[in-house]
C-alpha cells in the first residue's frame, strides 16, 4: 500500500512542473513499472529510474502528426525522395559530398528498382523526386529512369551538364519537358572559382551545357556551391547577371554553402538531429538526407523495400528529435 504514495508524489512534483522540464522525484527502483504506467497515462515521459530518483520529462508532448504538421508541406519528411542513380562521375570535385570521381564504383540502382521506388514512394506521400549522383548522364538508360519518375511526381535531375553530346544529347532530347527540371552546378560567374574546385575547363563546359539544356526547352535551375567568404556581393551580382543573360529564371538561381561532408572539411556541421530529413536511396540503403548518403551515422535501413516502412521510420524519428529539441529550447534562463 505504501508504494502507492509514489503516485501522489508524481502528481504533485511532475504535475506542478513546467511543461517540457525534467523533473526528479525520489523513487525506489521497484516503483519503476508503476511510474512508467503513470507517465504513460498522464502524457509524460519516464527518462530513467536510477540511484533512488525517477527522472521524468513533463508533458504534454505533441504527437507525430502534430510535429510533422508544423513543417511546411514541401519540406515535410517523406515529401521529397532523393535517388542516387549512380556514384561514378566524369569529374572529381574537391567538395563532392558523394565522393564521386571517374574512379568511384558505379553502384547504379537501375531503372527497374527506381520504377518500384518512385511508385512506392508516391503511395507514401512522396510529392517530388530528385535524381542525383555521381553524374546521372553517365548512365545510358537515364531517359528510362527519368520517364519513370516524371510519371509519378515532379522530378529534378541533378547533373554537371558536361556530357550533352552524341548519344547522351539524344537521351536529353528524349526527356520530357513537363514535370522535369535540370539542376546544373555552376559555382561562379567566371571560370576561376569553379575550375579551382572542379577542374580546369569545367566551368566553360558546364555553361555550354546550361545553354544547351535551355535551348532544348528545359527548365534549368543553376546551383552554386560556395564556401563562406567566397560569395561576396560582387561575385553574386556577376553570377546573377550571367544567368539572367543565359535565360535562367531568378527563382532558379540558387547559392548554397558547402556541407561538411565527403571531401569538404571546413563547412557547416550537419547531424541527423539538425537536418530536416529528405529520404535518400542509394543502391546500398536508405539514408536520412542526401548530403550524408553512405555515412553510417545517417543510415536508415539497408533494405530498399518496402520503402514505405523506411519513410515512416524517418518521420517517426524526426518527430522524436523535434520534440527533444523543442523541449531543449524551452530550457531558457531569465537573465
Amino acid at each position: 500500500m505504501v508504494t502507492s504514495g509514489i503516485v501522489l508524489d508524481l502528481v504533485e512534483r511532475v504535475g506542478g512542473a513546467v511543461a517540457g522540464s525534467l523533473v526528479e522525484v525520489p523513487a525506489a527502483a521497484t516503483d519503476a513499472d508503476l511510474i512508467g504506467r503513470w507517465c504513460e497515462r498522464a502524457g509524460h515521459r519516464l527518462v530513467a529510474v536510477e540511484d533512488g530518483v525517477a527522472r521524468i520529462r513533463r508533458g504534454p508532448f505533441p504527437d507525430d502528426a502534430a510535429v510533422l504538421a508544423s513543417v511546411p508541406a514541401e519540406r515535410r519528411p517523406g515529401a521529397r525522395l532523393w535517388i542516387y542513380t549512380n556514384f561514378d562521375c566524369n569529374l572529381a570535385c574537391d567538395y563532392c559530398c558523394a565522393k564521386s570521381s571517374p574512379k568511384a564504383e558505379r553502384k547504379a540502382i537501375g531503372p527497374e528498382l527506381i520504377e518500384r521506388l518512385v511508385a512506392e514512394g508516391a503511395d507514401h506521400g512522396v510529392t517530388e523526386v530528385f535524381l542525383t549522383g555521381g553524374e546521372p548522364f553517365l548512365l545510358l538508360d537515364l531517359d528510362r529512369i527519368v520517364h519513370a519518375c516524371v510519371e509519378r511526381a515532379p522530378t529534378t535531375l541533378l547533373t554537371n551538364g558536361m556530357l550533352f553530346r552524341g548519344r547522351r544529347l539524344d537521351m536529353l532530347k528524349a526527356m520530357p519537358r513537363e514535370g522535369l527540371a535540370l539542376q546544373i552546378s555552376l559555382d561562379s560567374a567566371t571560370p576561376g572559382l569553379h575550375d579551382r574546385h572542379r577542374g580546369a575547363g569545367s566551368w566553360q563546359r558546364a555553361l555550354d551545357g546550361i545553354r544547351t539544356a535551355v535551348g532544348e526547352g528545359f527548365r534549368v535551375r543553376v546551383a552554386a556551391t560556395v564556401a563562406a567568404g567566397e560569395s561576396g556581393a560582387d561575385e553574386a551580382r556577376a553570377f546573377h547577371a550571367l544567368l539572367d543573360e543565359v535565360g535562367i529564371d531568378r527563382d532558379d538561381q540558387v547559392i548554397r554553402p558547402i556541407a561538411q561532408r565527403g571531401f569538404a572539411e571546413d563547412g557547416v556541421a550537419l547531424t541527423v538531429e539538425s537536418l530536416i530529413p529528405e529520404v535518400t536511396v542509394t543502391a546500398d540503403g536508405v539514408w536520412w538526407h542526401p548530403v550524408a548518403a553512405e555515412h553510417e551515422d545517417q543510415l536508415v535501413t539497408r533494405d530498399l523495400f518496402p520503402l514505405g516502412a523506411a519513410i515512416e521510420q524517418v518521420r517517426r524519428r524526426f518527430a522524436e528529435y523535434r520534440r527533444e529539441s523543442d523541449t531543449a529550447a524551452q530550457r531558457f534562463t531569465c537573465a
Binding site: 500500500m1 501522489l8 504533485e12 506542478g16 511543461a19
Partner: protein, 271 residues
C-alpha cells in the same frame, strides 16, 4: 481599435505562463486581441475585476459565486472548459473499507482539501449534510495547503490522500480531476477505492461584469469557442489548461449546489 481585452488568471502552476501566452498568441492579429494579468489568489483577482482593472476573470466556481454575491448578480459568465461542465467530487477510502455511501461515514474521520476548495471542502461538507451527517457526526481533517487558490494546485487533495493512506483518516473527498490524475482506479486500485461520486456541477468560467458590452467580448468568446483540438498549436494549450476537447458555453444552473453550500455554511462573500 479598442485596447485588448484584459483577462486575469491565478498563477496556480508555472504552466499558466505558457498557457496564457499561448492563448494570447492565438488571439493576436485577429479582431479580438487580448492580454493577461496573473494574480496570486482569487480574492485579489475578483477585486481587480470589480474595480475594473481587468475585463474578464478566469474564475473558479467559488470565485464566481463570490463575484455574484459581491456584485448582487451584476456579472456574467462568458465561457468555460468542457471539463468544467461535468466536474464532480469523489469520496474515496482505503481499499476494502466496505463503505457503500456517505451515511457509512458516521463517526469517521474525513480528510478534506483546502477550506476554500469547492470540490474538496465546501461541496463535500454539503454532501455529508445532505446525507444526514452534521458537524458532530463526522470529524473533518482539513488540509489547507493551497488556500487562496481554491484547490487549483491539487496539493491539499494529495495531502488528504496521504493522511488517508497513513490511516489518520477513514475517507477523503477530492475533485474528479485529482482522482483522474492519480489514476486511482488503474494505478492505486490496491490502495484506494471510490465509494461515492457527486452529481456533476460547474467549475471554472470566464467572468465579466454585466457592464462589459457585448462588442468588447462577443468576438473574443466566438473565437475562443472556435479553438480546435485538431490544431496542434491549440491542442497543446488546451491540454495544459485541462480541456478534454473544446471550450463551451456556461451552464449556470450547475452552480446552484455551490450557491446553496456557501449560504448554508455561512461562507463569506469576500475573503
Amino acid at each position: 481599435m479598442d485596447r485588448p481585452l484584459l483577462v486575469g488568471a491565478v498563477a496556480y502552476t508555472p504552466n499558466v505562463v505558457p498557457i496564457w501566452e499561448g492563448i494570447r498568441d492565438y488571439f493576436a492579429g485577429g479582431p479580438a486581441e487580448m492580454d493577461f494579468v496573473l494574480f496570486s489568489n482569487y480574492g485579489r483577482q475578483v477585486d481587480a475585476l470589480i474595480d475594473g482593472t481587468i475585463d474578464v476573470a478566469w474564475n473558479t466556481n467559488l470565485a464566481w459565486v463570490r463575484t455574484v454575491l459581491q456584485t448582487q448578480g451584476k456579472c456574467q459568465a462568458l465561457a468555460m472548459r468542457d471539463t468544467d461542465l461535468k466536474f464532480r467530487t469523489v469520496f474515496a477510502a482505503r481499499a476494502g473499507s466496505g463503505f457503500t455511501g456517505l451515511a457509512d461515514l458516521r463517526g469517521r474521520r474525513v480528510a478534506l482539501g483546502s477550506r476554500d476548495s469547492a470540490q474538496a471542502a465546501i461541496l463535500p461538507v454539503q454532501y455529508l449534510r445532505e446525507a444526514g451527517l452534521d458537524d458532530e457526526d463526522v470529524e473533518l481533517v482539513r488540509l489547507d495547503s493551497d488556500i487562496g487558490k481554491h484547490g487549483d494546485t491539487g496539493r491539499s487533495e494529495l495531502d488528504a490522500i496521504r493522511v488517508l493512506l497513513d490511516e489518520d483518516a477513514d475517507a477523503v473527498a477530492l475533485g474528479i480531476n485529482t482522482w483522474d490524475a492519480i489514476g486511482a482506479d488503474e494505478l492505486m486500485g490496491d490502495a484506494l477505492e471510490a465509494f461515492w461520486t457527486s452529481p456533476a456541477y460547474c467549475h471554472c468560467n470566464f467572468t465579466a461584469l454585466d457592464s462589459l458590452p457585448p462588442e468588447r467580448y462577443g468576438l473574443w468568446v466566438e473565437q475562443l469557442l472556435a479553438m480546435s483540438w485538431d490544431e496542434p498549436e491549440h491542442r497543446r494549450i488546451m491540454e495544459l489548461e485541462g480541456l478534454e476537447r473544446a471550450w463551451a458555453k456556461p451552464d449556470l444552473a450547475r452552480y446552484a449546489s455551490l450557491f446553496k453550500a456557501v449560504e448554508d455554511q455561512g461562507i463569506s462573500a469576500r475573503w
